[in-house]
């Protein structure tokens, strides 16, 4: 059961008590999802539809000398084959998409290899055929002449001077003077304030450690899937599993040389994304095949393909050094982060650097980061991209300092915690934030006071994510029976339909069950940036509120005309238009439903339409507490108890907020204890399936307890902060800190899987 903690900070909404925001109604998509009625990306069937399949490189690194598709094209049942010849090469152009900036020159090569195959699984060709069997046969008939090249995967290996170079035209940016020799280091970044050398000189204790993390996948249960249809006059429709239908439209238009208005993209119901569905893989291929074959084409990735060819997060090497006084005050902190970007540049190195020390009030900080390409799929966003890795390393060193100084780990963090007015390590000062509240709630919790048994350990860690706003549109259309259709543009991956309806109901003063949401396609609503960055409820709230105010204003205007009084003599209260005072006239209030019924006769349909670029997203801080037990014979780690305390600003639908906290924690548990990409010496992925890429399932973890802290975001009408990403940031360090307590061993490599734990235990026991 969640605890909702309210702080002294007042929420900025109107003075009356909230009726809907903060409640837990049934989710609008619930029945469809549990009955199987919900339409996911692979569910759509169109007349004459073909099956599309992708031929993928078996080599992690190879020059493509030639591709002969003639035999495949001649196979009966094959209607189209595409290669890089079907996509114009594009100049280098960076656009914001998902977490990172993407470069179209890289994107066109990622969706379909051109000069080189840069990872096992890299698409080399695609076919559309009348059946999956024929499509698979056709793939076998495509002859690709590869020249295998040496490959490199590990980030440290890829940075070596003698490493195989992926791109002959990649010269490290951010280094002066610019290098003359290409390398795999795409970029060097640096963030610093103060003087770390002086700061370390003041420290009584300095701890430095190096950490290694392996790449992990977002693990969404629904593979990538889409259906594309292109008519003879060049009008296209695309249905796909995506976090951003407007971004898919933009990318496909660019990659296929089409006008944006010629493409209509519908986001199907989505079975998880976590950032991994903010990019395009199958969509441009399906559209190219549909355009060439004059038939709709469906493409669905197998699970193998999802692992081999969609974007996981980075593997990394992180060095951290922190100094503190004997009283526990941090005097200086440094870190060097080396992150895999995958086959093309643009990994989450910058946010990783910026987030590393964000929970702390530091005068002297220096963080250096490297974006490094290597022969694996290009990384995609994964929930607070970059931050889980860097904050894992920092929170482990923080814990080690606290232990050496014999200071309670929560007290150590409280002594150094960022608060309102603290200058973040990346520059700007924080507004009101809830980190200290989360630390205190964990410290006061019954969980923290529960005694532990043998081979058990307890760990805590804090985490942070910036959160964003972005371009957002929303429409509220009033139906003649007084119900409302709410159109949002953000695919619902975490409850934004429910939260948008709650905020609309609150703003309009009508019942929640009178508001029905739909996620609009790209032709039905104004541009809306993707669902990601923990922005959906925050941004939709601003847009929905603005649209609702337009509706209210029009409703009042209609009432005024009906009563034949000035518009400013009408007020809106509890979902009704009322005369503003006795002088306005003695009229019975008109309800929302009554005004809706007469709308046609009083001027026409009533609606509100908002288009904005939401700014003012407030960061969300969280603190996690975990108890675990280590089996000394097998190295298996059992999570015994887990508590998440995190600042939501205002929990619009608390059950969804709890779900975000729990889901992020479980993903972090998997990242900490089991998940990793395992490559053979041939550069091929050995575990592209859920059996061997072991993610936690419900039986692996206890119920995750949640504490919702609410430090209102002053820039939102309901005080909302995004919550979706922060929960994945603390778990790895919390678990590593608990492991240290349970075993006396400081694990610096993730995952802490049973074979590695057992090996470390045996080494420690042998050494003892």
């Amino acid at each position: 059961m969640a605890t909702v903690l309210k702080t002294d900070t007042p929420a900025p909404q109107s003075p009356h008590a909230l009726k809907w925001v903060g409640t837990r109604p049934i989710r609008p998509d619930g029945v469809d999802k549990v009955t199987g009625r919900a339409k996911f990306g692979a569910d759509l069937i169109l007349s004459g539809m073909l099956v599309g399949k992708v031929l993928r490189s078996p080599h992690p690194h190879a020059r493509i000398r030639s591709i002969d598709t003639s035999k495949a094209e001649a196979l009966p049942g094959v209607k189209a084959v595409v290669t890089h010849d079907d996509f114009h090469d594009l100049p280098s152009e960076f656009v914001p998409a998902g977490e990172m900036l993407v470069n179209y020159r890289d994107m066109v090569r990622n969706v379909m290899a051109r000069e080189k195959a840069l990872y096992e699984g890299h698409p080399v060709a695609a076919v559309a055929a009348t059946s999956a069997q024929i499509a698979r046969q056709a793939l076998k008939l495509i002859e690709v002449d590869y020249e295998p090249l040496p490959h490199v995967i590990d980030v440290v290996e890829a940075m070596r001077d003698d490493a195989p170079v992926l791109h002959d035209d990649l010269f490290t940016a951010g280094v002066e003077p610019p290098p003359t020799k290409p390398s795999n280091v795409a970029k060097r970044v640096e963030f610093a304030i103060g003087d770390t050398e002086a700061g370390f000189a003041e420290a009584d204790l300095v701890v430095e450690r190096t950490f290694d993390t392996k790449p992990v996948h977002q693990g969404y249960i629904e593979p990538h899937a889409c259906v594309a249809s292109v008519s003879e006059d060049g009008q296209a429709e695309l249905w796909c599993s995506t976090q951003g239908q407007f971004l898919v439209r933009s990318h496909c238009a660019k990659l296929l040389g089409m006008d944006i208005s010629a493409i209509r993209v519908t986001a199907s119901e989505i079975g998880g994304g976590f950032g991994g569905k903010t990019v395009v893989y199958l969509e441009p291929l399906a559209m190219a095949l549909a355009r060439k074959s004059h038939h709709p084409v469906k493409m669905v990735m197998s699970r193998d393909e999802v692992f081999q060819a969609s974007g996981p997060t980075s593997g990394a090497n992180v060095w951290v050094k922190i100094g503190a006084t004997r009283h526990g005050r941090i005097t200086a902190a440094e870190a060097v982060l080396k992150y895999q970007a995958g086959a093309f540049q643009g990994g989450p190195i910058q946010p990783g650097c910026m987030a590393a020390f964000a929970p702390y009030d530091l005068a002297n900080v220096k963080v250096v980061g490297f974006d490094v390409v290597s022969n694996r799929p290009k990384v995609a966003a994964y929930r607070a991209p970059g931050a889980p890795i860097s904050e894992f390393a920092v929170e482990c060193v923080i814990d080690e300092l606290a232990k050496e100084l014999e200071i309670d780990p929560i007290e150590f963090r409280l002594e150094n915690a960022a608060k309102e007015g603290t200058r973040a390590a990346y520059g700007p000062k924080f507004g009101p934030i809830g980190l200290i509240d989360t630390l205190r709630k964990i410290k006061e919790s019954e969980h923290y006071r529960t005694p532990l048994g043998p081979n058990q350990g307890r760990g805590i860690a804090s985490g942070f994510w910036f959160n964003i706003g972005g371009e957002t549109s929303a429409s509220i259309n009033v139906n003649e029976d007084g119900t409302v259709t709410l159109m949002a543009g953000t695919p619902d991956i975490g409850g934004s339909r429910a939260s948008s309806c709650l905020m609309a109901a609150e703003a309009l003063g009508i019942d929640y069950d009178k508001v029905r949401p739909i996620i609009a396609d790209t032709s039905s609503l104004g541009y809306t940036f993707l669902t990601g960055g923990s922005r959906a409820t925050f941004s939709n709230g601003l847009a929905v509120n603005e649209a609702a105010q337009q509706v209210i204003k029009e409703m009042c205007a209609r009432a005024a005309r009906f009563w034949e009084i000035p518009a400013d003599a009408v007020t809106w209260e509890d979902g009704m238009a009322k005369p503003a005072g006795a002088n306005a006239g003695d009229f019975e209030p008109l309800s929302f439903a009554e005004l809706a019924k007469m709308a046609g006769k009083t001027g026409g349909p009533i609606g509100g339409h908002a288009h904005l670029n939401a700014q003012g997203a407030g960061p969300s801080f969280g603190t996690h507490l975990v108890d675990l037990e280590v089996d000394q014979e097998t190295g298996r780690v059992t999570i015994l108890r887990y508590t998440v305390a995190q600042d939501a600003g205002k929990a619009v639908h608390p059950a969804y907020v709890e779900g975000q906290y729990q889901g992020g924690a479980v993903q972090g548990i998997g990242w900490a204890l089991n998940e990793e990409y395992i490559y053979g010496p041939d550069g091929r992925l050995q575990n592209p399936g859920f059996l061997d890429y072991r993610m936690p399932v419900a039986s692996d973890v206890p119920m995750i307890d949640t504490v919702i802290v609410e430090v209102a975001n002053p820039r939102h009408p309901f005080g909302v902060r995004g919550v979706g990403e922060t929960p994945i940031v603390p778990p790895m360090a919390a678990i590593a800190n608990a492991m240290e307590q349970a075993t006396g061993i400081r694990f610096t490599e993730l995952p802490m899987s049973p074979p590695k734990v057992l090996k470390a235990l045996e080494a420690a026991n042998g050494a003892g």
Partner: protein
């Protein structure tokens, strides 16, 4: 005048100058003045940045006013997953 702070990465293109005073009414003017003052900086200003004005982060907000006396930080663009 606003007090403008650049990251060390961007300061590479300003001859090391990471803090300066600029008189700009909004973000677009600020970026334009930076580009005019430091031509080598210009390509990097187009590449996806965020601007923090007195702690509040703005992205794609060219017309956001910059009050006199503000502290302005130019930082990398932030998104998410």
């Amino acid at each position: 005048m606003a007090h403008v702070v650049l990251t060390r990465n961007l300061a590479q293109f300003t001859g090391g100058e990471s803090e300066l005073e600029l008189d700009a009414a909004n973000i677009r003017q600020l970026l334009g003045q930076l580009a005019a003052r430091y031509p080598r900086l210009e390509p990097h200003l187009a590449e996806g940045l965020a601007v923090a004005i007195d702690g509040e982060i703005f992205q794609d907000a060219w017309l956001e006013p910059i009050p006199p006396g503000s502290e302005v930080h130019i930082i990398p663009r932030i998104a998410g997953g």
